[in-house]
């Protein structure tokens, strides 16, 4: 008997004829088994990168951020580029977990847990850049408004940079709460089947004593729904506020009203690319092909081609406005500093165009959307492209300012700037590898919830029921 019915035209979200227990087995297996060699290698590389990043930051604090190649004209370089890039990556996780929950998209269940984890780790990485960019990092707490002995001297609540402090910290907190509240039932599942004392103890602590009581589930559902409802405007606000960092300034190339939607679309675009990269790895390493199906990959590729095209329209609109405004500074930034391939940074603009606008168009073809190699390759390309986008926005707007004598023709990063960026990759993947080993990478309870509606085995049987019904219907009514 089925409590719900889903059209046969929809692909199953869970392949194989599985029951509830099998779902638990499949998802908990990697946690209970010893890590594979591949996992150790990946983890080792990630930790090495992280250590290099720590050393780079150690040098930043010791010698000051003068060891970066920033100068008075290009005051924001790789650091803020990387900040915006990482924040953007985080957005896909919230989109999948919150917005798709509100839109009742069943396919989110297979990928939401890992995508949310990605969000949290990406925001952790993003936060590093503004913090260490402060230089005198031991005064970082000055950004917090609290009654102090300096007057009290308050922060500037009218400044987008302070809005960012609130936006990013709220985003991190809410994402973490949303993610962890979803994890409670799954930790309880692992606790109740643990066969070592240590595991039972650790997951018992992590599960907060979850029992699966009906009343608790009722509250849990209400909590998830409201948190999703809160996260949806929150995620849109976060990248809107990040775009305000630029849009409220008077720098040609930044002073643009389309920045908020353009940034949000770009964030979702790059985030989905990163989700693809991670999901393809997870489904391969942990053999989760039944849960992260080609249908999931295809759905995400559709989002990529949509948001990539929105971003493309934004690029063209900017170029148009650069001409249409008849403002010579705007025109110079857009048509010379960016769109002219032979200007010093023209390569980055065309790199961005090629990666973000042109290449994702292959996802109009179903065969390409469902091709895992193409998807993996494209996910890397899109992430590179979106990094270029932020670089273009920041550096090409800055390097030729209003005063030609202060033009800085070539800004290129030092090894310590690159090392810092590499270090955040280390942080991200260290966290992600630990997550993949010790956390259920797929939301077990949510998969069970959709299993009888969209599981392949159940759908198969529903087909015969449907067929019988149709036959009897024809038999009775088509005289």
């Amino acid at each position: 008997m089925h409590l719900k019915y889903e059209s046969q035209l929809r692909e199953p979200l869970v392949y194989g004829d599985k029951n509830y227990h099998q779902v638990t087995e499949d998802i908990v297996r990697p946690i209970e088994a010893k890590p594979t060699r591949l996992w150790y290698i990946g983890f080792y590389i990630a930790v090495c990168l992280l250590l290099f990043g720590v050393y780079a930051i150690y040098r930043d604090v010791t010698y000051g951020i003068g060891q970066w190649n920033l100068n008075k004209t290009v005051g924001w370089g790789w650091d803020i580029t990387n900040f915006v890039w990482w924040v953007g990556i985080g957005h896909a996780g919230t989109l999948i977990s919150a917005i798709l929950l509100l839109f009742r998209q069943g396919w989110r269940t297979g990928v939401n847990r890992a995508a949310e984890a990605m969000t949290i780790f990406a925001v952790m990485c993003a936060g590093q850049f503004p913090i260490w960019h402060m230089g005198r990092v031991w005064m970082a707490f000055f950004v917090l408004p609290y009654p102090n002995s300096r007057g009290p001297l308050w922060v500037n609540f009218n400044s987008p940079l302070l809005w960012d402090v609130f936006a990013i910290s709220t985003y991190f907190t809410v994402s973490l709460l949303f993610w962890y509240s979803g994890l409670l039932p799954d930790f309880a599942t692992i606790r109740d089947r643990a066969f070592t004392k240590l595991r039972k103890r650790l997951y018992g602590v992590a599960a907060f004593g979850w029992t699966g009581s009906t009343k608790h589930w009722q509250r849990h559902e209400s909590l998830s729904l409201v948190l999703a409802g809160l996260s949806t405007p929150l995620v849109l606000s976060v990248h809107t506020i990040v775009s305000f960092d630029f849009a409220t300034s008077v720098i040609p190339g930044w002073h643009t009203t389309i920045f908020p939607p353009y940034f949000v679309a770009g964030a979702i675009f790059s985030g989905f690319a990163m989700v693809q990269t991670l999901m393809l790895m997870i489904r391969k390493i942990f053999s989760m092909e039944d849960y992260i199906t080609v249908g999931h990959i295809e759905a995400m590729n559709k989002v990529i081609v949509l948001t990539g095209s929105i971003v493309g329209v934004a690029y063209l609109t900017e170029l148009f406005m650069g001409w249409y405004s008849q403002n010579k500074y705007e025109g110079y930034t857009f048509w010379y500093s960016r769109a002219n391939l032979f200007s010093p940074y023209g390569w980055s603009y065309w790199g961005m165009m090629a990666c973000n606008v042109l290449s994702p168009q292959i996802f109009w073809f179903r065969k390409m959307r469902r091709n895992l190699f193409v998807t993996f390759f494209m996910s890397i390309i899109v992430n590179i492209g979106m990094w270029f986008e932020r670089f273009v926005i920041i550096v090409t707007s800055l390097y030729r300012d209003y005063l030609p004598s202060s033009w800085s023709v070539y800004y290129s990063p030092t090894i310590w700037e690159i090392g810092f960026y590499a270090g955040t990759f280390g942080l991200f993947f260290t966290c992600f590898f630990l997550f993949a080993k010790y956390f259920p990478v797929i939301a077990i309870a949510e998969i069970k919830y959709v299993l009888k509606t969209t599981g392949e085995g159940y759908k198969g049987r529903m087909d015969t029921i449907e067929g019988e019904k149709l036959e009897s219907f024809v038999h009775e009514h088509a005289h």
Binding site: M1, H2, L3, Y20, H21, T24, P145, G151, P152, L153, W154, N156, F157, N158, L162, W163, F166, A167, T170, T173, V174, L177, S181, L184, P185, A188, T189, D192, R193, G204, V205, A206, F208, G209, W210, T211, G212, S213, T214, K215, H216, W217, Q218, R219, H220, E221, S222, L223, L225, V226, L227, L230, P233, L234, S237, I241, A445, E446, K448, Y449
Partner: protein, 196 residues
């Protein structure tokens, strides 16, 4: 703490569980709780539980966040330390929208999660009585509270007849479930005296 007796019936299919819940309730037994591995929609209604008010609490927390942000910022920028920022008004409401919004969301989310944990009595190191280890895996575990008059063998047979694959009698302490357990018990006793 006083110990209580419970009859536990395990079901492996939610489609069997629903009619069983209905029959057990109609027969006059008091279902203490049903433990499920995932959120079974409609089960709360079948058990006669009232809707949760958690979202209302969330709204109140959100409004608290909004007022906190607006009152703090306006006091700081108009009374405590009026800063001249480009000659713009001290009371710059549009510029405060982002932070006000963020604090609204932050207060609502944090408040709701804490309330959720308090209501469900969830916290690290909390230990509860688990009626069946597979309740978080693949079984739907119906727990029925016994009184002195309950014939447990009859009840077990009744559960099996309604599709339970496994039945059991368990003694659990009262303290394992904090919340309104005691109040429910009082009401039950009051009813008994009226009937007598």
């Amino acid at each position: 703490m006083a110990k209580k007796k419970f009859v536990v019936g395990c079901f492996d299919d939610e489609a069997v569980l629903f009619p069983a819940v209905k029959k057990v309730r109609t027969a006059g037994y008091k279902i203490h709780d049903v433990y499920t591995p995932f959120a079974v929609h409609g089960l709360d209604h079948a058990l006669g539980l009232r809707e949760t008010s958690l979202h209302t609490a969330g709204f109140i927390y959100g409004v608290t966040g909004t007022t906190t942000a607006l009152s703090c910022i306006s006091w700081i920028f108009t009374k405590d330390w009026p800063l001249n920022i480009g000659g713009k008004p001290h009371f710059a409401l549009p510029a405060w929208v982002p932070i006000t919004f963020e604090l609204t969301v932050l207060f609502a989310a944090v408040g709701m999660v804490l309330t959720f944990c308090y209501l469900c009595q969830l916290a690290p190191f909390v230990k509860k009585h688990h009626f069946h280890a597979r309740a978080t895996d693949d079984l739907f575990v119906m727990v029925i509270e016994c009184t002195d008059k309950t014939n447990t063998e009859d009840l077990k047979g009744f559960l099996v007849a309604n599709g339970a694959i496994e039945t059991d009698i368990q003694i659990a302490e009262e303290g394992w479930w904090l919340g309104h357990y005691d109040k429910d018990e009082m009401r039950f006793e009051a009813k008994q005296t009226v009937a007598a």
